[in-house]
Amino acid sequence: MMDKYNYAFLDEGSKREIRRSVLKAVAIPGYQVPFGSRELPIGRGWGTGGIQLTLSLIGPEDTLKVIDQGSDESVNAVNIKKFVKMCTGVPCTTRTQEATIIQTRHRIPEVPMTNGQILVLQVPLPEPLRIVEPQEAVTKKMHAESDYAPIWLQLYESLIKYGKVTISAEYPCLVEDRYIMNPSPIPKFDNSKLHDAECLYLFGAGREKKIYAIPPHTKVVSLAFDDVPFEKESFRGKKCRLCGSTDTYLDEIFDSATGERYYQCSDTSYCKEVRSK
């Protein structure tokens, strides 16, 4: 079936155009670069921004890993992996260390990524200011003028009302002291991995037609007040019931038969590796 389609699905012109947008994104960390997002055989909102990045970067010498919510076997990961494999034939892996390109939804792997690896993040809503301003024309101007007062006000109001900053996942960050950026719906737990990293992070929003990037060794700071530090999700006193890890992001699982609540690593390949050691 795939012999009727080009290598990596999109025509070469489209892939080149996407790579040009990536270069611009790398040159201006945290800035959302508009691009002519193409339609794919996978649903808009199902990772099409990430897939277009992966398709335009991938070559025969690459090894691909795809995760969804930390898992290599979840529905979105399986679907995307199958598609990219079908139209490129590249080998896939579940081991973070082996992959050259990792596409992910909602997580950054537990194993630190290295120079030479690219993490492609799927982004549903790239605009960090959307929570305070619905209009694109206005948010664009706010970024241009570094007018970030409304989002700071939002943090402050939640602090006054609940005693806590209640933004959960997709917690906004300031990149290189210039652009406020939405790190995609990764948990706050993963935000620190963006700062001064070894690898390249690329963010693709297919439906919203934006690409942005965090190149290696970029300064990325989660928004917080001087006297109220940034706080990530806490799993104090809990550990993975499979591998025993206490320093990973945990999924809460509720056994409907016994009524018992337990936890296990959201990063399934990391969990497997710890167990096999």
């Binding site: 025509d11 649903g43 199902w46 694109e136 806590k164 209640t166």
Partner: protein, 355 residues
């Protein structure tokens, strides 16, 4: 725990896809593409219009592949479209030169060139015809072809628009021909405020239901107007591409069926009134969509607080692929984000109780 992120997911997904073939298998009778294309024309037209790809055969194939879901079919065609190299931009086609199959005006009884009802369900009683449960399709087809063959062909001359007269009278503003290269919404992000070419392309490919509902809200009270359909025409437009060897020549590549609408609205003109015009054009026979498009085109020219006067609201939420994609993504696991949300909720509660 239907598709939990634990091992075994991959096989379960494969099985789900296999089950689709079972759902599609239904009966031993094949649904031939020719049948879909020729007897489900309005559905095919809708799918082509929302996909922005004029191919009856592929639209029929897409519908066959997805049990007749119009949004899935649009999805298939759009994805296929992404793989095609774009070799040419067509020359501007003037719908004045359309080979008409229907043309009506709700503004004037008599229009230059005349009204021509063509085919429309508007004039039928919507009564179930139980005889169609058993129909001799071959006999019907032959009979209709014979009826057409027996007719004396009549030349229908291309005709100008109803609005031309009103422009001459000065009631509708006349604008310079805008020969700017149109903004291509399939290759670029919509940047607001968008040029009109981007607005019209987006509306023309929009989901029929979405723009019909929005246009209805304009008529019903969340808008200013009760527009008049100045002219609705439906017919075939010839498409040509430039001939690369000789700029003065062009190549005819075929014709497409379009529905084209102008609606008239009252508008301020300093201390007097004038008429403003909204325009709609969609692939195939889809009159309500074309009218809805024309209503919204005009509404977006006005300013105010109604949703239909906000171009971001109207243009960013009506694409079949985008809306259905994002709604369906809610079915994907959200374990990580939900865990984070739970953590935030619990923290506010715990501290309050402790405090």
């Amino acid at each position: 725990m239907a598709y939990v992120a634990v091992s075994g997911g991959e096989e379960a997904i494969e099985a789900s896809i296999r089950l689709l073939s079972y759902y599609r298998s239904g009966t031993e009778k094949d649904l031939e593409l020719e049948v879909i294309q020729e007897k489900m024309s309005l559905l095919v037209d809708r799918v082509m219009s929302e996909a922005g790809l004029y191919s009856k055969t592929y639209a029929a194939l897409a519908l066959k592949q997805c049990e007749g879901s119009s949004d899935e079919a649009v999805f298939l065609l759009r994805a296929y479209r992404s793989t095609l190299k774009r070799s040419y931009d067509s020359l501007v086609a003037d719908t004045r030169d359309m080979r008409l199959v229907r043309r009506i005006s709700a503004a004037f009884k008599d229009i230059p060139g005349g009204q021509m009802l063509g085919a429309s369900y508007d004039y039928t009683h919507r009564l179930m015809d139980f005889d169609l449960q058993r129909e001799d399709a071959a006999a019907l087809c032959q009979k209709m072809h014979q009826t057409v063959a027996d007719q004396e062909p009549v030349e229908i001359a291309p005709c100008g628009r109803v609005s031309d007269e009103l422009k001459t009278e000065g009631l509708i503003d006349r604008f310079e021909q805008d020969n700017e290269e149109p903004y291509d919404v399939t290759q670029n992000l919509l940047e607001f405020p968008v040029p009109r070419s981007a607005r019209l392309q987006t509306l023309s490919r929009a989901d029929t239901g979405f723009i019909s509902g929005l246009a209805y809200s304009v008529l019903r009270g969340f808008g200013q107007v009760h527009p008049t359909v100045g002219e609705l025409r439906c017919g075939y437009v010839e498409i040509e591409v430039p001939y690369l060897e000789d700029a003065a020549e062009s190549l005819w590549i075929g014709e497409i069926l379009l529905t084209d609408v102008e609606v008239f609205n009252e508008a301020d003109d300093k201390d007097q009134l004038k008429l403003a015009c909204g325009y709609g054009a969609v692939m195939g026979r889809n009159e309500n969509k074309a009218i809805a498009m024309a209503v919204l085109d005009h509404e977006l020219d006005t300013t105010g607080d109604y949703p239909t006067q906000n171009d971001e609201f109207v243009l960013l939420h009506g694409d079949s692929l985008e809306m259905n994609g994002f709604i369906s993504h809610l079915k994907l696991p959200h374990y990580v984000t939900f865990q984070s949300k739970l953590d935030a909720v619990r923290k506010t509660r715990r501290e309050r109780h402790d405090g």
